[in-house]
């Protein structure tokens, strides 16, 4: 669940990234966030996960007011979110299994449950054979799928995926998106940042388009179909 009200972000070096974002995502929605390179998509994600602070405006994520979030509450917020980072952010010295298991341990899951859940989720993303590999032993697409597995493993109330299929072939991209759709249908809110137009068009979902830090379109279904490049 997300509420953003006039959110602006100017980075420390003076780069304006968001110029007044108003966005409302309700519990259980599935939303695509699209936009050209450097339009501010990842900046929105980073604000929602409290990785960076907005310059002005107000925002609420999963019932927590980001403007008044104490440092000690940040982990609590993040535990309600499953995030796929654009640059994966896997822990280099941990195996695939450990990377995913760590996210469960961090929320305090019992070892018994972890032992069952992690292989299950890795199988969902097609990595059942790579559990003992380290990230540097994986292909780009495999790393990305580990990131997806980690994001969904805790059954978060909201999944935020920044470009989760950029390194995947069309078939696998579709599989991942279908997976997210299935998870969504079980009640989880899903926000997917993507460039893949085919993918967006093959789902009839709400599409929020942003350009230059502003929302320029917000409608449901076939965003790219109506566009000519």
């Amino acid at each position: 669940m997300v509420r953003m009200l006039d959110v602006c972000k100017v980075y420390e070096n003076g780069t304006p990234a968001l110029a007044g974002i108003n966005l409302r995502i309700d519990e259980g929605e599935f939303v695509f966030l699209v936009g050209s390179s450097a339009s501010g998509k990842s900046t929105i994600v980073k604000i929602l996960t409290s990785e960076i602070k907005m310059t002005s405006g107000r925002a609420i994520v999963n019932g927590r007011n980001l403007n008044r979030l104490k440092p000690s509450e940040v982990p609590k917020l993040r535990r309600t979110l499953g995030v796929v980072f654009q640059d994966f952010r896997l822990i280099e010295k941990k195996t695939v299994y450990e990377n995913v298991a760590f996210a469960m341990r961090a929320v305090g899951a019992a070892p018994r449950i972890i032992k069952k859940r992690v292989p299950y989720v890795l199988k969902l993303v097609g990595l059942e054979n790579k559990q003992k590999s380290f990230p540097y032993e994986l292909s780009g697409g495999e790393q990305q799928r580990v990131a997806v597995a980690r994001a969904i493993v805790n059954n978060p109330s909201m999944i935020i995926a920044d470009e989760p299929t950029g390194n995947l072939d069309p078939k696998m991209s579709l599989d991942i998106m279908v997976l997210l759709d299935k998870i969504n249908s079980l009640g989880t809110t899903v926000l997917v940042v993507t460039h893949e137009r085919e993918l967006v068009d093959s789902f009839s979902k709400r599409v929020v388009a942003i350009d230059n830090g502003r929302i320029i379109s917000d409608r449901t279904g076939g965003y790219y179909q109506n566009e000519i490049i």
Binding site: T49, E51, P71, S72, V74, P75, K76, R78, R79, L81, V83, F85, R89, L90, I91, E92, K93, F102, A103, R105, A106, V107, G108, A110, P111, R150, N154
Partner: protein, 295 residues
Amino acid sequence: MRLYNLSYFIRESFESIFKHRFMSFAALSVITACLLLMGSFTLVVVNIENMLKDIEDKNEIIAYVKLDYTYDQATALEGKIREIDDISELEFITKERALQDFKEKKKELKDLLDYIDEDNPLRYRYRLKIHDIRDTETVARKLGRIEGIDKVGARSDITDRIIRVRDVVTAICVVLIAILFLVSIFIISNTVNLTIFNRREEIAIMKMVGATDGFVRFPFIIEGLILGIGGAVLSLLLQWGIYEYIASLVAKSIPFFSIISFSDILHRLALIFFGTGILVGGLGSAITLRKFLKV
């Protein structure tokens, strides 16, 4: 904290030490090296102090009894002298003993002295040692006030020198040890800093997936403690070996110089080593981490 967390933390720490073995080795060896330096220096200082104590022990005060006192009168003074505090040893010396000693010391004059045997010009005397060399003058004054004591021979010039040398040596040692300790602690925490700095991304990622500061910090602290304690054990063993070797060398070449045995200082050394190891390894990690946990 749940029990399975604790077991996870401990397993995690050991694994992490192994996984980052390059840095673990760096940290461990720097801790060991620094502790070894601290230890060696402490041992040298302890021995120097001990040697100075030896010299002090040889410093004595002579109280001369009036020339006209008989043997009985002279020995009777002992009680009064004993009333003075601080005296650690007291010995009465007869005129005859004194002359004998003198002759032995100055063999050159023996012939001359031989014919004054009947008319011994020397006095009865007491030779005494005191606990603290600093009190020499006070004791000398008190002795002088005793009825029957003629003169007090306290070589207060030399005493003074020894006191002053000791004070300065102690001061220099304290300064040097303080510098050494500060530098060692600085170096160790610097190394701990660098190793944690090296893992700042790992820490940031952990925080991003929802781990609390404590959850991230705990294994690091245990890791720091393991390395700190490991370093302490290693350096204590090395120190022992080196010390025994040097001690045996010294014992061979200057037998009159009494070296303190390692077991006498083991507990003090262990305290320093484990204290520093635990403090800088554990607490150092904890403090450094704060910087990198703000994500």
